[in-house]
């Protein structure tokens, strides 16, 4: 399991725009590099990131080799109701990881 850090405010007012920051440890090997022996290092990246808010998708990103190692993504959403945010990263070599965060909306 890769280490993931998620920053979601624990509490928010209804209708408030909240900032969500996510970071996951991953090499994001581009597939363009070669070893000293001239062998191409196969691509190994996270290519999809999805965030759902109580089951409804609120943000989706397609990542390419140009995303730095340990992909860091910041985005926003409107706090509509208390519940769970689910974050899923998936990519090459059947990589898939899901994390959740809870939010209380007053």
């Amino acid at each position: 399991m890769a280490r993931a850090l998620i920053n979601v405010p624990a509490k928010a007012k209804r209708g408030e725009v909240i900032t969500i920051k996510t970071l996951i440890s991953h090499v994001m090997e581009t597939g363009f590099r070669h070893t000293t022996m001239g062998v191409r290092i196969p691509r190994d990246i996270i290519d999809t990131f999805v965030c759902t808010y109580n089951g409804e998708e609120i943000f989706r990103a397609t990542l390419h080799s140009a995303i730095a190692a340990n992909p860091f993504i910041t985005f926003h959403t409107v706090a509509t109701e208390s519940g769970t945010l689910t974050f899923t990263w998936s990519g090459d070599s059947q990589f898939s990881q899901t994390e959740t965060a809870n939010i209380v909306v007053e």
């Binding site: 581009t30 590099r33 290092i41 998708e57 390419h64 926003h76």
Partner: protein, 162 residues
């Protein structure tokens, strides 16, 4: 059986070495790491075409923030902001970023919706060389808006072999 496997491996190694010498299957290897990275306008145009289709791209509404100079192309902070009220009728549908001199022009494509509240995406990207970046946003009315930015890179990503 094990002997045969061994022979196959050796053949593969020799074939690989031959291709290496000829520079046929590994053309990028022939490029020294310090060589100037060439912009590939055709690949960039195709990548943008895939996103916008035949639609006209207008300048404005999008703001692309990158540092003017970065010592290391392996992690360059990137922020894209779009002017939009983010209502159900008028919102940003997607944000796409392209780099003109990277081996693959696509950087990131983010899908947003009216629930985003603030149409802004931040990430860290790799850049092979000093180059222009292009951010394109698609609005809910089907129009496309563009912003460009330039970053000077002292040490590029991708090309140094590991």
């Amino acid at each position: 059986m094990s002997k045969r496997e061994h022979a196959t491996t050796r053949r593969q190694v020799l074939a690989g070495a031959g291709a290496l010498a000829g520079g046929l299957s590994l053309p990028t290897l022939a490029t020294p790491a310090h060589a100037q990275v060439q912009a590939n306008p055709a690949a960039l145009a195709i990548a943008i075409q895939k996103v916008v289709g035949g639609a006209k791209i207008n300048d404005g509404k999008v703001k692309l923030e990158v540092p003017p100079l970065s010592e290391n192309g392996n992690a360059v902070a990137l922020t894209v902001t779009v002017e939009s009220p983010m209502t159900a009728k008028d919102h940003v549908k997607s944000i796409h970023v392209f780099a003109e001199k990277n081996l693959q022009p696509n950087v990131i494509s983010a899908k947003l919706g009216p629930r985003a509240g603030l149409p802004m995406v931040q990430t860290r990207i790799r850049l092979a060389d000093t180059q222009d970046l292009i951010a394109i946003a698609e609005l809910s009315d089907g129009t496309f808006w563009r912003a460009t930015g330039n970053v000077i890179i002292t040490l590029g990503a991708c090309l140094e072999d590991g």
